[in-house]
């Protein structure tokens, strides 16, 4: 319906009304849904976020606190109430873990195995990746593909023939019998990561070194390796953690308690222990995880990058 505006007065009146309406609507927009509820909703969202994160966080942290707390209690004190805080901390359990549980021996064995595996993996993976990256040769594709295919096959699946091979090579009950299969286990990913990294380096680097009279070996040692430090760190970390924590092959190959690695020794100790010796077991557990936890806390960024490298880049 159209209404004719005849007089000036009438026109002014309509104009004023319209301006008033406009002002009101602006005011509404500023106050109503926009400004007054946003901070509230944001605060609510933040609070909710923190509540969820704190819940999850305590699910991870609390077990370790219980572990620490329990390891400082006497056996009777623990059995009476597992949750109570010890009035007088008992450090006997740690002495027990150190002596009776042979944790130092197991730790040393694990350090030897993991250290040797890291060195061997780095040497073999870096040289193979350099060869595959630098040369095109007959069979290079097939060789590389046979490496890559192994990425998705877990060691567990070929354990039986692997056991037969290790026994035939007289490597059963021998730490070298762990180092070689561990190395083989980490090589596919190590070669893949190193090769990808080397391929991304400028070709001119090696060519320039060769013009200067370097052979490939010298170019590799003096030009490529110094540039490859990040990928070496990545490979070293996932190889080390894998070898340090490996249990299955150790269980099958090692039967001499003096040669047990940390996981194997811990499992054997745990099974042979009396069911009520909780504080001693807690202390043993703490002593056995302490080295890797400390190393992790110092190198946390490198650990996260190293352990997820295969997934993120693969």
């Amino acid at each position: 319906m159209q209404r004719r505006i005849s007089t000036y007065a009438e026109r002014d009146h309509v104009k004023n009304q319209a301006e008033q309406l406009l002002r009101m609507s602006r005011g509404l927009a500023q106050t109503a849904p926009g400004r007054s509820t946003r901070p509230f909703r944001k605060a609510l969202a933040n609070t909710l976020t923190y509540v969820i994160l704190a819940t999850v966080l305590s699910c991870v942290v609390y077990p370790f606190l219980v572990l620490l707390n329990g390891s400082l209690k006497s056996e009777g004190d623990f059995l009476a109430n597992p949750l109570s805080v010890p009035l007088v901390p008992q450090f006997d359990n740690y002495a027990y873990a150190w002596n009776a549980a042979h944790i130092p021996t197991y730790t040393l064995n694990s350090a030897i195995v993991a250290g040797a595996t890291v060195v061997l993996t780095l040497v073999l993976a870096a040289t193979a990746a350099f060869g595959l990256s630098q040369f095109r040769f007959k069979g290079s594709r097939v060789i590389y593909l046979s490496f890559i295919l192994l990425l998705t096959i877990p060691v567990q699946i070929y354990i039986i023939p692997l056991y037969i091979i290790v026994v035939r090579l007289k490597l059963a009950n021998n730490l070298l019998g762990l180092v070689l299969p561990y190395t083989a286990g980490s090589l596919p990913l190590a070669v893949f990561l190193c090769r990808t990294y080397f391929d991304a380096l400028p070709v001119e680097l090696v060519d320039a070194a060769r013009i200067d009279g370097c052979n490939h070996v010298r170019a590799f040692v003096h030009v490529v390796l110094p540039l490859a430090k990040p990928i070496i760190a990545t490979v070293a970390i996932f190889t080390f953690v894998g070898a340090w924590n490996e249990f299955f092959l150790a269980l099958v190959f090692i039967h001499d308690p003096n040669l047990a690695t940390l996981p194997l020794g811990l499992q054997a100790f745990f099974i042979n222990q009396y069911q009520t010796q909780f504080p001693q077991l807690f202390a043993t557990l703490i002593v056995s995880i302490a080295p890797i936890v400390v190393v992790y806390l110092v190198l946390q960024r490198q650990f996260m990058a190293g352990l997820t490298a295969g997934a993120v880049r693969g």
């Binding site: 999850v56 040369f135 286990g185 070709v203 060519d207 060769r210 370097c214 953690v241 936890v293 946390q300």
Partner: protein, 307 residues
């Protein structure tokens, strides 16, 4: 035979001039050490396993060829398929738990937040510990009489909910599944955080201007763009679920009443307790086939969705 820049190679050739034979052989010399170790300890055992599975072998006496008999026995073995069923359940439950939990946590952590790095560092801690350490830890916590779980239930007045978590066939597998999720969520979280970093910020700003709410932005932007990362998370978690051994061996040894018996525990028992190498080899080959088929299916589905 050098790569790409042939001019550089020609000049280098004039300078160092290695013999023709050496030049032919050199690439193989670089690859040979790694290939030898890999062949002896991975390729060869995989090939041998296929052969072994056709024999009756105990590791001591001479193996006897029996054709497909091991496979026939595997196919009709109730225990093995029960174990595979446990693996399937384990895979579905752990994959769902790990992926959903880590995705939610990653989205919550992917912004300026007080204590963000501390959260991430602590959530990743169980990843660097061994399955054995974590298995022992939780076995002690699940203990009926002195475990903290039952102690906590008692403390909050839910005494009736106390369980023999690992000793009862109804709860044992779920308890182990819980521990597996507990250990690996931090790992998948870090992968998702890397994925979230790769999503351009302007997409969210554009969506915000178009009036999309937080939920819509999550479903329409975050989830689709994270698909490659979801794919790798699902693949890694499923591979882990089908080769799970350590955690089960430490916590329940496959019991009670085979309620947590999984394929690898069954294979381990047949091979190293009963010395039935050929039979266990056949089981391994069947498991390998299942794992390979599963990987292909997962990659197909996730790739199809990405395209």
């Amino acid at each position: 035979m050098s790569r790409q820049s042939s001019i550089g190679w020609l000049r280098a050739d004039i300078v160092s001039r290695p013999s023709l034979l050496l030049r032919r052989v050199e690439p193989y010399l670089w690859v040979a050490p790694a290939l030898c170790v890999l062949f002896l300890f991975t390729h060869l055992p995989i090939l041998l396993e296929a052969v072994l599975s056709l024999f009756a072998a105990d590791g001591f006496s001479a193996p006897r060829f029996i054709g497909p008999n091991n496979y026939l026995e595997v196919l009709s073995n109730r225990d093995f398929w029960d174990a595979i069923n446990h693996n399937v359940l384990y895979a579905i439950a752990t994959v769902a738990g790990k992926v959903v939990l880590s995705l939610i946590l990653a989205v919550l952590l992917n912004r300026q937040l007080f204590g963000r790095n501390v959260f991430r560092t602590i959530l990743f801690l169980p990843v660097v510990l061994s399955f054995v350490a974590i298995g022992v830890l939780w076995t002690l916590f699940f203990n009926f009489d002195y475990g903290i779980l039952n102690a906590l239930l008692k403390a909050v007045g839910l005494k009736s909910l106390r369980q023999d978590w690992l000793g009862s066939a109804d709860t044992a597998l779920w308890a182990v599944i819980f521990v597996d999720i507990w250990k690996w969520t931090g790992f998948h979280l870090v992968i998702y955080l890397a994925g979230l970093q790769s999503i351009p910020r302007d997409l969210y700003e554009a969506a915000l201007l178009d009036g999309a709410n937080a939920f819509q932005r999550f479903w329409r932007i975050t989830v689709p763009l994270l698909r490659p990362f979801t794919a790798i998370n699902i693949l890694l978690a499923s591979l882990g679920a089908f080769s799970v051994f350590d955690l089960i061996y430490v916590m329940t040894q496959g019991g009670p009443f085979k309620a947590t018996n999984v394929a690898m525990v069954e294979i381990y028992l047949q091979a190293f307790q009963f010395n039935r190498f050929g039979y266990a080899g056949a089981m391994s080959i069947v498991l390998l086939a299942l794992v390979a088929a599963m990987s292909v299916v997962i990659l197909r589905i996730t790739n199809a969705k990405t395209n």
